[in-house]
């Protein structure tokens, strides 16, 4: 069964008088446990697609089914609940809260979800151990290296055990070696069954994924799972 099912997705931006079609006629299905890279030049719509998948943005037309449930018609609060429990985000610039410690940053999604403090502490401790951060629990982000920061961010993204992990250029602010570490970490999570979707314009990272979606001018140009030739739906 597809964890994500997009059908006829349209997203239009109005910039002054001009109309920009960020996404047009998008039909994609992603199965549970898949490892997908969304690639394309800047402005191709890959970030818009990721925002839609993360329920941070709404399509102007089309339907989005997450785990068999139509999520485009949900109220903002219901969408927030879905983001809280079913979606994890990893950002290029980490987006850690600077005044909170690593442990507090990891615990943030659970705090927002209203999970009791005792349970939070226990789960945060386990997560920090799993990600090799147990010596860094009380460090603030500015006391951590780039790779450690991204590990904290990944720990935070996965602490609620989401169905889908969305990563937007997760290695964009890291050097080669730490970037590779982060990719390996994400792939490990994927091997344990988490659906992983990475947006990147780095072909080396993109080709590591089992499936590539190539975006161009708001359209899906190529889907490696469907055909070998660049003949996507138009």
């Amino acid at each position: 069964m597809s964890v994500i099912q997009l059908a006829g997705i349209e997203r239009v931006f109005h910039l002054g008088d001009s109309v920009v079609h960020a996404l047009t006629g998008l039909d994609v299905a992603i199965d549970a446990g898949e490892y997908v890279a969304i690639m394309g030049p800047s402005g191709s719509g890959k970030s818009t697609l990721l925002n839609l998948l993360g329920l941070l943005d709404r399509p102007d037309a089309g339907s989005y089914q997450l785990e068999g449930r139509d999520v485009t018609t949900l109220s903002p609060d219901e969408q927030a609940a879905v983001r809280s429990r079913r979606i994890g985000f990893v950002f290029q610039s980490f987006h850690l809260v600077p005044r909170l410690t690593a442990a507090e940053n990891v615990g943030l999604p659970m705090m927002l979800a209203g999970i009791p403090a005792a349970e939070r502490a226990q789960r945060v401790q386990q997560a920090l151990k799993d990600f090799g951060l147990d010596q860094r629990a009380d460090h603030r982000p500015d006391q951590l290296s780039g790779g450690q920061r991204q590990r904290v961010a990944i720990a935070r993204a996965t602490i609620m055990q989401p169905a889908v992990l969305l990563a937007d250029e997760p290695t964009g602010n890291l050097d080669r070696a730490t970037g590779d570490d982060v990719i390996h970490l994400l792939e490990e999570l994927n091997q344990r069954g988490m659906t992983l979707i990475i947006v990147t314009h780095d072909p080396k990272i993109g080709t590591r994924a089992k499936r590539q979606l190539l975006m161009e001018d708001g359209e899906l140009r190529h889907d490696s799972a469907r055909a070998a030739s660049p003949a996507a739906a138009t």
Binding site: L56, D57, F89, H95, M111, G114
Partner: protein, 402 residues
Amino acid sequence: MRNADVLRFARDAAAGYPLRTSLSVLAMAIGVAAVVVLTSLGDGARRYVVEQFSALGSNLVIVLPGRSATGGFSPANALTTTPRDLTVDDAFALTRLPSARRVAPLAAGNSEINANGRLREVVVAGTASTYLDIRSFKMAQGHFLPEADWSRGAPVAVIGSKLQEEIFGNRPAVGELIRLGDRRLRIVGVLKSVGQGLGMNTDEVIFVPVGVAQSLFNTNTLFRVLIEARSRDEIEVVKREVAAMLKARHGGEEDITVITQDAVLATFDKLLRALTAAVAGIAAISLAVAGILVMNVMLVAVTQRTAEIGLLKALGARAATIRNAFMAEAAMLSLVGAITGYGLGLFGAFVLRQMYPVFPAYPPDWAVIAALATALGTGMLFGIMPARRAARLDPVQALMKH
């Protein structure tokens, strides 16, 4: 998000920007402190006056010549009726009223006292033996004016404690002969110090029999007649009876004014309460200013933390959660500011009391409650707008700000 977590999150957020937080706390504190100190001043003035009046004596009814208290000044009145003088005979007639326990005439004027080789200007009060009890004065040495016929008067005098100090120093004054104007009088007593009493410092007054004062000033009118009612309930009876009797004695003219301590007190009390409220109102403006400052601080906070708000939304925070977190932060700034300001205000009032010990500068309860409530209220009110702005931020846009 649990309430305890909301509060903790807001507290950490406020603590994360110490300069901004302390500035808005300071503004709120100054506002609250201003209200506390200014109302302490106003209410202190009220208490001071009330205490002064209470010092006059209890159940006091005062008769003064001329009709002015209720009608105010009217030119027609001034031209057509010359108020008849209040005389010693009038005062003596009032002693026959059953509701009056004591009656004391009072004639007043300025003269020179010459004693022990020193010369001094003094206020002379011509009165009778009853005056001591009506005003609840105490003697330091000797006794007060003797009981005698009011129209005659023995050549004796009683002086206030300050006069004794200035003229005789440490020497005993009782028994000394003094010259007052063209009279020679013997001092029979010295009053205990009572301090300031309604513009007239009793410690600097020389008391002589009313007959002596009238012949000294060559007049037969009285400045006041003081009457002590038998009880508090009989004050109104005394007032009515005095008015009726003097009207009869003055040929049907209502040419005297009877005032009671309660009425005067109530007027001053009302006046000074209004003044205190007005001052509190002025000080409250600074609270509104502080509220606006809190709003600005929160707006800056929303702008500074736009990326964080986007992140919270991405992590599943509902709009209401974000609004609550920012409201809690605004409320905390206001609360801490209000409490700090309350402390500052109490300290200010304490300093005032140390500097002017006679002045009871305590903030009234209502002002404290109103100041704290206004501080919290404005802080919250002005916190709504930034909090709503934060809650409405588009997460995609917010996340791009970094």
